[in-house]
């Protein structure tokens, strides 16, 4: 009964508890306590995070002659930490008043807690997988668990969940095909056998394997060609479910890529393979896919008018950074990619929770119907501010550290166009996150929102803790970099030498503690200079210069719709919705073929059919 078994057992218990007690009003607190328990068990295993050896589970099965085993190594510990942390934050958020209001509006908070617990259980099983078969089992369970979480909101959520599960099953089938190929090549599905034979695989085999496994995992990760399902599905999930999905659910795809492409097949093999007619190697192609995944979703997010949709599109975009970091295969780049998983999980969850705090109070997430909430919901504003600084990757917060690592490795490797592409992504993020915080919290406070209050404490607590984490890992990135280094070692990537403040390198390293200290010293001097002169006088929002025009409260003069008009004049016509068009072509094609197929069953005259069949059979045999 190893620690790993304890963890999985606890997760199973929490699923059962939520399944049985989903009607109890206190189910939210119960689930949060169970998640806290799981976190505790995880800390007991925290030796893994600092280079400890892998913990094996005592359960080992052999079904149809295939051995199944489970184990936890540094990489899975790192991902499990994020998963349980995000789940704890989401269930705490949903436990208090949010749950009561959700129940009044006809929702079922118990079901939400149950699906959260189920998701965590399935993810732990996936992370603990010891061989390819266990990996696939865990993968399917995770896809179906998040299907439940996405579909529980009913109505529009059904169609998005339907779209998601079709994509996810396509991905799973690709992985199954990959497993079949591996079995055909190596005769077994164990990691060790594949790693042993990976060296001798022919180029064609490596390409097929990496495409099958890569595209399978990429679908869940929302990499470019398969990213259409993610934004809508995450936006339609009820409240904290989105925070959980947005922060960790799509990173399971990254875990898969790390295990199969990086650990088993090894990036070295990918670098060797050159794609004909181009000077790109397969790894460069994957890096370019990641770079484009950064740009396109970010600039789609720029045009969204729904806060949840905007953040969900950013989730897709940020996935590109992680892939870019990991495929760079250098110590700096891969640590940047891995740390970005942790960073993104923290600030994405904080952002989603603060959006849902606003939705809880105002009832809408439409950016054109909000404004000026900073005076009424200051703490939510603070959380969103910390979140957007993290998402945009600006210094004091942790987002900057992981992006710096990725940029630094691109700089050393000498990949200028990728460097510029990812910076374009960052700039796009800065633009769209400012639109988010401006349309929601700044600007004119509407008359109907003047009486709303700050979100209740049960919702505010997880948000504040998350934003604190975002700042602390930004201030002292060494904390997270230790886990990342252990994960790198587990996966076979070169390990990054780092200090508490960041990375010391003679050609220009980074020391965040110094930078943040100097930054706050600068703010201190600025504040000193500011508050030493003259007493400020606060005025009402109507006391504004508008060219001599008298502003009145009933007029909405808050500039929020079509926010970047100038930019859109230049790049507006570049938005061609080409991926939606491609998808609709695929669907209509299958519909056409299906019509042909079912037409076969409408022919009435069986005798004629039989004659044709017989003639065919004889001809085939002859």
């Amino acid at each position: 009964m190893t620690l790993l078994d304890g963890l999985i057992l606890l997760a199973l218990i929490s699923v059962l508890v939520t399944m049985l007690g989903y009607r109890l009003p206190v189910i939210g607190w119960l689930t949060s306590a169970l998640f806290a328990g799981q976190l505790l068990v995880l800390f007991l295993m925290s030796g893994l995070g600092y280079g400890g050896d892998t913990i094996h589970s005592s359960v080992a099965l052999s079904i149809f002659g295939q051995p199944l085993s489970w184990r936890f190594d540094a990489l899975s510990w790192f991902f499990a930490l994020i998963t349980i942390g995000a789940a704890l934050a989401s269930s705490l958020f949903a436990a208090g008043e949010w749950g009561r209001q959700y129940r009044q509006n006809g929702g079922n908070p118990g079901l939400l807690q149950f699906s959260l617990a189920l998701n965590v259980l399935t993810m732990l099983i996936l992370l603990a997988s010891g061989d390819l078969l266990a990996l696939f089992i865990g993968w399917e369970l995770v896809s179906w668990a998040s299907f439940l979480l996405m579909a529980m909101a009913g109505g529009a959520a059904f169609s998005w969940a339907m779209r998601y599960i079709t994509y996810a099953t396509g991905g799973a089938m690709a992985i199954l095909a990959g497993m079949g190929m591996v079995y055909q090549m190596t005769g077994s599905l164990q990691y060790a056998d594949l790693m042993a034979v990976a060296g001798q695989l022919s180029q064609a085999q490596v390409v097929i394997l990496s495409l099958l496994f890569g595209s399978g995992f990429a679908i869940k990760m929302g990499v470019l060609p398969f990213h259409l399902w993610q934004a809508g599905a995450y936006a339609e999930t009820p409240g904290p479910g989105t925070a959980f999905l947005g922060s960790i659910s799509s990173r399971m795809g990254l875990y898969g890529i790390l295990v199969v492409l990086v650990q088993l097949i090894g990036l070295g093999r990918l670098i060797e393979i050159d794609i004909s007619f181009t000077w790109l190697s397969l790894r460069d192609l994957l890096m370019w896919v990641a770079a484009i995944t950064i740009i396109l979703p970010t600039f789609t997010a720029l045009r969204q008018n729904d806060a949840r949709r905007l953040l969900a599109w950013h989730g897709v975009g940020q996935g590109g950074y992680m892939l870019l970091g990991i495929f760079s295969a250098t110590a700096l780049g891969s640590s940047g990619g891995l740390m970005h998983v942790f960073n993104h999980a923290t600030y994405q969850a904080a952002l989603f929770l603060s959006v849902y705090a606003v939705v809880h109070r105002t009832g809408t997430a439409d950016l054109n119907k909000l404004g000026g909430l900073v005076t009424r919901m200051p703490l939510s504003f603070l959380v969103m501010l910390v979140g957007i600084i993290g998402l945009a990757g600006i210094p004091p917060m942790n987002g900057f550290v992981s992006k710096w690592l990725v940029y630094r490795s691109l700089l050393i490797e000498g990949m200028p166009l990728l460097f510029v592409a990812s910076v374009i992504g960052t700039l796009g993020t800065i633009l769209s996150v400012y639109k988010l915080i401006h349309n929601m919290f700044l600007g004119q406070l509407r008359a109907e929102h003047s009486e709303i209050r700050e979100a209740p404490w049960s919702m505010m607590l997880p948000m504040l803790v998350l934003s604190l984490i975002v700042f602390i890992t930004g201030f002292m990135p060494g904390l997270a970099l230790d886990w990342v280094a252990a994960a790198q070692a587990a996966v076979g990537l070169p390990v990054l030498q780092h200090s508490l403040g960041g990375v010391e390198m003679e050609q220009g390293g980074l020391d965040m503690t110094w930078l943040v200290a100097v930054l706050f010293a600068g703010f201190g001097i600025g504040a000193l200079l500011f508050y030493s002169t003259g007493k400020t006088r606060h005025v009402n929002q109507l006391d504004n210069y508008a060219g001599g025009h008298f502003l009145t409260a009933d007029v909405r003069y808050h500039y929020s719709d079509h926010f970047y008009a100038g930019l859109m004049h230049r790049i507006g016509h570049w938005y061609r919705e080409s991926f939606q068009w491609l998808e609709s072509v695929l669907i209509s094609l299958t519909g056409f073929v299906a019509q042909g197929a079912s037409g076969f069953y409408r022919i009435v005259q069986p005798a004629l059919l039989m004659l044709v069949v017989v003639v065919l059979a004889l001809w085939v045999v002859r």
């Binding site: 600084i389 000498g414 910076v423 700039l427 220009g508 200079l529 003259g534 210069y545 100038g566």
Partner: protein
């Protein structure tokens, strides 16, 4: 350690003083181009004192104040990353990538402050300012990549030493320097790319609700902005500061070029600015990059 603390305090002060003179130079050049006498010697300083001494300091909320504090404080912190003759500050703790992101903090702070003022002119101005940032940052990033690749380091102090050893950057990377100069126009936010401060159209955009010490803070920020642009360009291409007289002469010349261009041009519309910034400097940058890389 003691010298570092004094450096951390001294560098912003030096930056402020030089920045003031740069603003003065700007207004003098502007006046001379319009065949005017131009403001007296201490005019920028007087303006700032006057702003801070106003009786009324109109504020629209705490975030409006924090915005100005972030703007001024952000630049004060950014100055310590720029090496000047004799003082290196914390340039080695964060290289040129950290510096570019540090320069984004003041504009983000200002954007938040202006957002709270709930003035439509302000919001339109900020959306244009961020679009301008998107416009000039792409060629700027290409230039940074080329420079860091050429010197093999992102640490500004190392770059200066490299240039002291074997010649200025502008000699080895002329086209990149040209692209850098083009983006300098955008970074300093001067005339051709200054649509976000269109006085007649959107009442100076972000600065519409800034009175008293708020506007004073922004004047200080402008001084810092000129200084940072000048010193950064000199550090990257003109061999940085080996001694104060030549260093001052270099940064003043570097800053005077965009200013002279500025007073010749009207303001571009946002989409034309995007087209211009994404065409010529990017092409020049890429060509320079190609030359540097091979």
């Amino acid at each position: 350690m003691m010298t570092l603390i004094t450096e951390l305090f001294l560098m912003p002060l030096v930056a402020f003083v030089i920045g003031l003179f740069m603003v003065l130079m700007m207004r003098k050049i502007g006046a001379r181009l319009q065949r005017r006498v131009g403001p007296p010697f201490f005019q920028p300083l007087i303006d700032i004192i006057k702003f801070h001494s106003k009786e009324t300091q109109i504020s629209h909320g705490l975030i409006h104040d924090i915005g100005i504090i972030m703007a001024v404080g952000g630049y004060i912190a950014a100055e310590t990353l720029l090496p000047v003759p004799g003082m290196d500050g914390i340039a080695d703790k964060g290289g040129i990538i950290a510096l570019t992101y540090f320069l984004m903090i003041p504009s983000l702070g200002l954007a938040l402050g202006v957002g709270q003022c709930a003035n439509p002119n302000g919001s339109i101005g900020i959306s244009r300012a961020l679009t301008a940032m998107l416009a000039y940052d792409i060629p700027f990033v290409i230039v940074i990549f080329g420079v860091s690749w050429h010197y093999g380091t992102t640490n500004l102090v190392e770059m200066v030493n490299y240039q002291q050893a074997n010649g200025w950057g502008i000699v080895e990377m002329p086209i990149l320097a040209l692209a850098g100069l083009f983006t300098l126009q955008g970074i300093m936010g001067k005339q051709p790319f200054e649509i976000y401060v269109a006085p007649a159209e959107i009442a100076t955009g972000p600065m519409v609700e800034m009175g008293g010490k708020y506007m004073g803070g922004l004047f200080i920020m402008q001084a810092f902005q000129f200084y940072t642009a000048g010193v950064l360009y000199t550090t990257l291409f003109l061999g940085g500061g080996e001694n104060w007289p030549t260093f001052l002469m270099k940064i003043f010349i570097v800053v005077s070029i965009p200013i002279m261009i500025a007073y010749m041009f009207p303001r571009y519309r946002t989409e034309d600015m995007l087209r211009l910034m994404w065409k010529w400097p990017v092409i020049a940058g890429l060509i320079g990059l190609a030359l540097v890389m091979h």
